[in-house]
């Protein structure tokens, strides 16, 4: 390109990485759930949308800053995760794979319809959050909320990773994901692990939703885009792989932003094509168990 400017390129790479970290956390929750019980939660994007609305309403009605809504979101979405698992998913697990896929599709449609009915299709934004404006980092200007969101996502991811690999409960989760029967024989309550997986998976969305509502529009269809990206990130990283989800999230975000710089309208087409190419070459995804 004739007007290729290195500083803009660096700027794009850094902001893309920050967004990619958020994609990574969203996808990590999805991947955790899939790893446990081989279910793709197609309502993931819609639940994220509800988390964003939760943050928005906490701010609008109770003047709670988006960043302070994070703990509230974690608890609320965690409880919601257990309810979804106990009320819906557990029954669907007995059915064929298609029923499991379709039930989360139905849930997504329901959640989107409810949001549209209750909150109207308007685009909303948190007017003046505590964190706003921009900062200079490494010589490039970045929106402060984006930086906070990126680092928040990174911290969330590290905490999640530490929980899964270092604590006993986390190891039980992993054991259940690897071999349900063996885990049950070792005295692990797999039923509780499933519920816990849903709680953690959706709590990730609670964090991501709060961090994003800090600077992004909130509207009923917002889940479609982020949902799609997260399904693709999980498939790209390898179903069930949590580091894979983070790496894939960052890769997808880089592709999206770099392509968006050269050919803005085709940026998502580029994301989908990269996914197709990689997954055709390596069907189990980057970090997947074959």
């Amino acid at each position: 390109m004739a007007f290729f400017q290195p500083e803009i390129f660096v700027q794009i790479l850094i902001s893309a990485t920050l967004v990619g970290l958020i994609y990574g956390v969203i996808a990590a929750g999805l991947s955790l759930i899939f790893g446990l019980m081989e279910i793709v939660n197609f309502a993931h994007g819609e639940i994220l949308m509800w988390a964003m609305y939760a943050t928005f309403w906490l701010f609008t009605l109770l003047s709670v800053d988006p960043l302070l809504s994070i703990p509230v979101n974690i608890v609320a979405l965690g409880i919601f995760g257990v309810l979804v698992y106990r009320g819906v998913i557990r029954r669907a697990l007995r059915g064929p794979m298609l029923a499991q896929m379709v039930i989360t599709f139905g849930l997504a449609t329901l959640l989107r319809g409810l949001a549209q009915k209750l909150f109207s299709p308007d685009f909303r934004i948190v007017p003046h959050p505590f964190v706003e404006g921009r900062v200079e980092l490494f010589g490039v200007a970045l929106g402060l909320p984006q930086v906070v969101a990126g680092f928040g996502a990174l911290i969330t991811f590290l905490l999640l990773w530490a929980f899964i690999t270092k604590t006993e409960t986390g190891l039980c989760l992993q054991a259940t994901a690897q071999d349900k029967q063996a885990a049950a024989l070792m005295g692990i309550d797999t039923e509780r692990m499933y519920a816990l997986g849903w709680a953690i998976g959706l709590a990730c969305l609670g964090v991501a939703g709060a961090l994003m509502a800090n600077y992004y529009y909130v509207f009923p269809m917002v889940g479609l885009l982020f949902g799609n990206i997260s399904y693709i990130a999980v498939a790209l990283g390898g179903f069930g792989s949590i580091p894979g989800a983070l790496v894939a999230g960052i890769i997808l975000s880089l592709v999206e932003h770099v392509a968006g710089w050269f050919v803005p309208p085709l940026k998502y087409a580029a994301v989908y094509m990269i996914y197709i190419v990689i997954v055709v070459l390596r069907p189990q995804g980057l970090f997947g168990r074959s």
């Binding site: 139905g106 009915k117 799609n228 399904y231």
Partner: protein, 357 residues
Amino acid sequence: MAEVSATPQRRSSAGRWIVYAILGVFVLVYPFMRFQVGPLQVDFTFPYARHLLILIFLYALTAQAWNILAGYCGQVSFGHVAYFGIGAYTSSMLLMNFHLTPWIGMLAGGLAAIALGLIVGLPTFRLTGHYFAIATLAIAETVQTIFMNWNAAGEAKGLWLPVMKDSLLNFQWKSKLPYYYVALALLCLVYLATYGMERSKLGFYFRAIRDDAVATSSLGVDILKYKLVALSMSAFFSALAGSFYAQYVLFIDPFSVLHLQHSVLVVLLATFGGVGTYWGPIVGTAILVPVSEFVRIRFGGTGGAEDLIVYGGLIVLMTLVEPAGIVGIYRQHIRPQLFARKEMVDVHAMAGEATEE
């Protein structure tokens, strides 16, 4: 292989054919029905009553097209709207640029959809289960993005089809009546094709691939070939529906004919009725579409999404109660009751039939 007679033996009872005949006569005379039952005035001649049935035929057509690939052959696609959209765009663009009659355009759309299906299928049929489903989703989104930015296809503004004189050749009428019969004919076409497929070797291959791809392959069946056949059939009929939609509404854009929501809807309709069953798609559509239309009209306002709530809620409920859908409920609970005396022996066979995925 050909003379295997493992077709689920259906009772060719007279009762069954009487039901079919009544239904057939009903749909044929429906748009002319107008009578009084006590205080109740029944009138199906006004445009909305016809429109409702046209919607049902159109959605049942797409749902059955999806069912051929997903239900019979087990390849769950979440991107079927791509084929619907290709059909709509092909016939519309041929009409607008070359004044080609939409009938030929419809056929061309079907062939274009098959071509897209082959391009998509060759690489993605190596993937299975969720990987395949997500790949189809990604491809559909890519197709939407392409049409959104394609100048000749009207970009995001869409295409307004020229209004022409009423004629069969133009595929345009002021009355809804001709559309009604065209939609009905298209629906019959897909049902005939499915009937033929279900009873031929093709149907056995499809179901075998769905039930156990590895075993089928080890018996010497070329899995990739038959998956591509299933996808081609499925894409072709989806595209016919797309062309019909374009001619019926006379306006298409990437949001109306290529939106992900449409793919989801088709999946929900077929699953509600009973995925992988012959009557499932039409039963699901005939129940869900009127219910959602009723709710939308009765409780709807501007920007509300009552129909989404109904679709979502009912499908979650159905999957919890009976994953095999309405047809599954019929087979497991209603049919054994109806035929309890005559067919005690058949119950096990039917249970097996209904629990197959």
